[in-house]
């Protein structure tokens, strides 16, 4: 702890600035990651061909 005899610590403006920067960086990173993952999952959700070919094959069995 600073003793009151010393100079007052500067309110590190950069400390407050930095917190804003990281807050918004994390927010957009998370948003991007979620969006990317969901749109790629969208594509992988197309599996109708699996059922089509499955019924096709069962002709034989």
């Amino acid at each position: 702890l600073l003793t009151p005899r010393q100079s007052l610590p500067q309110l590190d403006e950069s400390l407050v600035e930095e917190s804003r920067t990281f807050e918004s960086r994390l927010q957009s990173l998370l948003q991007d990651t979620i969006q990317e993952s969901e749109s790629s999952m969208e594509m992988l959700r197309e599996w109708t061909w699996l059922n089509d070919s499955q019924s096709f094959s069962s002709d034989l069995s």
Binding site: V16, S19, R20, L26, I34, L50
Partner: protein, 82 residues
């Protein structure tokens, strides 16, 4: 704890109070941001678990189907070629 009237206009005290206010606000905002990211992350975690389960089932089905078709194909070729 009260600020005695004789200190109310004191430059040092005013500066300290101002800093205190700013730091408090920054920390409060930072906590809010952290909490929001936690909540987003939790929702997303739930969704991706379901997706992965779905994906993993389809994946196993695809593999089983490919193997069955290849086997049938092999048998049919045997019949065709005598």
């Amino acid at each position: 704890l009260r600020v005695p009237p004789e200190l109310a206009a004191n430059e040092v005290v005013t500066k300290l109070l101002g800093d205190n206010q700013q730091l408090r606000e920054a920390l409060r905002r930072s906590n809010l941001a952290l909490r929001q990211r936690c909540e987003e992350m939790e929702g997303w975690q739930r969704r991706t678990r379901e997706e992965r389960e779905f994906l993993s089932c389809r994946f196993q089905e695809a593999r089983a189907l490919v193997e069955r078709l290849a086997q049938e194909n092999h048998s049919l070729q045997g019949l065709v070629n005598g």
